[in-house]
């Protein structure tokens, strides 16, 4: 079978990528995939969701997620951050109160030796498996989360905790590998899948061609009230029958949230730099104009002309005679 994959991720409207608490990870060599949604109100949820997905896909001899190891990794990282001199009071207080990070988790593993797939889920993130033969029949899709039937999306999902026991019991699902598509999604997109079913599949197939198109699609769905304003991420794993027993790896296009964050940060810093340069430039121009015995109106006109000529931001003349 031929495996290809797409992955897209975006934050809530009017927030930054650095605020996004969703994470996903994959290991193509081991054919393992994971997605997690950090609970915003918890303590360092982004870090917790990152640890969970990375540990879920790591090659390991032991069965299941090494929970203690995940918790130790999270605690170690948080302790380091809290020990900085400039740590904020609310961060330090939350650490002293032993507040946990909380997150959902969905994992998928493809076993090409036994030709099966297995999945686990806790929380309101979902795995959907849509065999090609039943794309238009939502009832026949495989759907996995730890939410009980009937499915209702609310503010009280099950979760894994970075300290102690979490909430809820994980659920498992398995099936034979066949042509079709796995969708690992966090809750906002999952709820949209439940609501729109094959129309959602059409949007995904036709409109989600790259990260920009995905973001435009999400913005449109939010504007129309079809998608809740929440972090939204999806791993879409496609299996095609190429008459080969083993799973061969095909195209992979997965957005890296860390790269989005770095790009965003770079843009923010460049903007600051430009604003500083322009502020300094404005001051220097004002000082230079002061040395000329010309009227305020003339100075204003000069600055206006320079703004147009050099595409500078138009700032009011504030020179003094």
């Amino acid at each position: 079978m031929r495996l290809s994959m797409k992955g897209y991720i975006t934050c809530k409207e009017a927030e930054a990528y650095s605020d996004c608490a969703d994470r996903y990870a994959y290991n193509m060599a081991a054919h393992r995939f994971a997605i997690s949604d950090g609970v915003t109100k918890s303590f360092f949820p982004k870090l917790w969701s990152k640890v969970l997905v990375e540990q879920s896909v790591a090659p390991s001899g032991a069965a299941g997620l090494p929970m203690e190891q995940c918790q130790a990794e999270w605690l170690n990282e948080v302790t380091q951050r809290v020990s900085h001199d400039d740590v904020k009071w609310f961060t330090r207080n939350a650490f002293l109160r032993k507040e946990p990070g909380l997150a959902t988790l969905v994992t998928l593993a493809l076993d090409d030796e036994n030709f099966i797939w297995t999945a686990e889920a806790i929380g309101d993130s979902f795995l959907f498996f849509v065999p090609d033969s039943v794309k238009d029949d939502f009832e026949k899709w495989d759907k996995l989360s730890s939410k009980p039937d009937p499915i209702e999306f609310d503010n009280y999902p099950d979760y894994l905790s970075s300290r102690g026991k979490g909430r809820g019991e994980k659920r498992e699902l398995a099936g034979y590998l066949e042509p079709g598509t796995f969708y690992l999604m966090t809750d906002a997109l999952s709820e949209w899948m439940f609501n729109e079913q094959s129309e959602a599949l059409r949007v995904i197939e036709e409109e989600w061609t790259d990260q920009k198109a995905f973001e435009a699609s999400v913005a449109h769905l939010r504007n129309e009230g079809r998608l809740h304003n929440d972090d939204s991420s999806a791993l879409i794993i496609r299996l095609d029958d190429d008459n080969i027993w083993d799973i061969c790896d095909g195209d992979t296009t997965v957005t890296d949230i860390d790269e989005l964050i770095d790009t965003e940060c770079a843009l923010k810093e460049c903007r600051k730099e430009i604003q500083t340069v322009y502020a300094d430039l404005n001051e220097r121009i004002n000082d230079l104009l002061q040395t000329y015995n010309i009227s305020d109106n003339a100075k204003h006109d000069i600055k206006q002309q320079l703004s147009e000529e050099f595409a500078l931001p138009n700032r009011n003349c504030d020179s003094h005679e």
Partner: protein, 308 residues
């Protein structure tokens, strides 16, 4: 000089979409829009800073100091609810208005600015779970955002005029945001220099009703009132005038909003007793009820997953 063009606006992700539509719901429930970074909410605390706030409780401490403690703690709770580790999400714009010798806009700021720049920080002790069913004491930092003041009269009408401007400006700039919430803390009837008490009372009522008549996509601004007393003759969330025991309660009834559905859950969790048409007010609140009421009034800012 190289030509350089750049977008002067802030990150496009922070620009509100003017085409945002109300979410598709067959029946619109007002005062239900969730506080979010996309649509932050405004919470205004009006704090009585009149001379009578210098009165002491039998247990010790003045009403002014206790109010200062409770409201500062409520602000810290909002910050904790909206922090995810190292950053505070700006889902709330917070305004503190003093009503005493003069009307003072103590501070109006984004929640993250409050968090990053408190007036000062005190050290305190808090009991936390030790993970084995017991409690341990840990030293925590307690930021302070305003100081207790007790001086002068209670010019509530002029204060509400300032509040109306703040609320009106906010609604104009943020039409899709949750309807603003005003929480008034007072220990007596309005009194203003140069104005007889009846006129001052009538002016305060008129001004409050002007605020409650403003309108946005999420409905009308809410005014909740807490009159702090000793607990005797307490009147909590009355639904009808017959339930009002004294003039103070009757006054508050006229300047309080009916509690919308979206706030009833928060009230019940705090074990505050509400009926279907309850007004958001308590008169003669004892200290415990006062704390619960402030938490109820600011509960809009503390909604999120896992808020149970």
């Amino acid at each position: 000089m190289e030509t350089a063009t750049f977008n002067q606006t802030e990150n496009n992700k922070e620009t509100m979409s003017n085409n945002q539509t109300i979410s598709n719901m067959e029946t619109k429930q007002f005062n239900s829009t969730q506080f979010s970074s996309a649509h932050p909410g405004l919470i205004t605390f009006v704090i009585d800073q009149s001379g009578s706030m210098e009165e002491t409780y039998p247990e010790g401490g003045t009403k002014a100091k206790f109010t200062h403690l409770v409201v500062n703690r409520a602000i810290n709770e909002m910050i904790n609810s909206n922090a995810d580790g190292e950053t505070v999400k700006n889902r709330v714009l917070l305004s503190l208005i003093g009503c005493g010798k003069s009307v003072t806009e103590i501070r109006t700021d984004k929640l993250s600015d409050f968090a990053n720049n408190p007036l000062r920080i005190e050290n305190g002790i808090q009991k936390v779970s030790d993970g084995n069913g017991g409690l341990v004491e840990v030293e925590v930092q307690k930021p302070i955002y305003f100081e207790p003041v007790a001086n002068g009269l209670t010019p509530l009408a002029d204060t509400l005029d300032v509040v109306k401007q703040i609320v009106g400006n906010f609604m104009e700039k943020n039409p899709e945001s949750p309807a603003p919430v005003v929480v008034i803390v007072t220990d007596g009837m309005p009194r203003s220099s140069g104005v007889d008490d009846a006129t001052e009372e009538a002016n305060a009522i008129a001004k409050a009703q002007e605020i409650m008549a403003l309108s946005c996509a999420d409905g009308h601004p809410l005014i909740f009132n807490c009159h702090i007393g000793r607990g005797t003759n307490k009147c909590e969330f009355p639904a009808a005038e017959e339930e009002l025991p004294d003039e103070q309660a009757k006054f508050l009834f006229k300047i309080s909003s009916e509690v919308p559905e979206s706030y009833k859950d928060a009230a019940r969790k705090l074990e505050l007793d509400l009926s279907e048409h309850s007004k958001g007010m308590v008169s003669n609140a004892d200290p415990t009820t006062f704390i619960k009421f402030i938490n109820f009034g600011s509960s809009g800012a503390n909604q999120d997953k896992m808020s149970n």
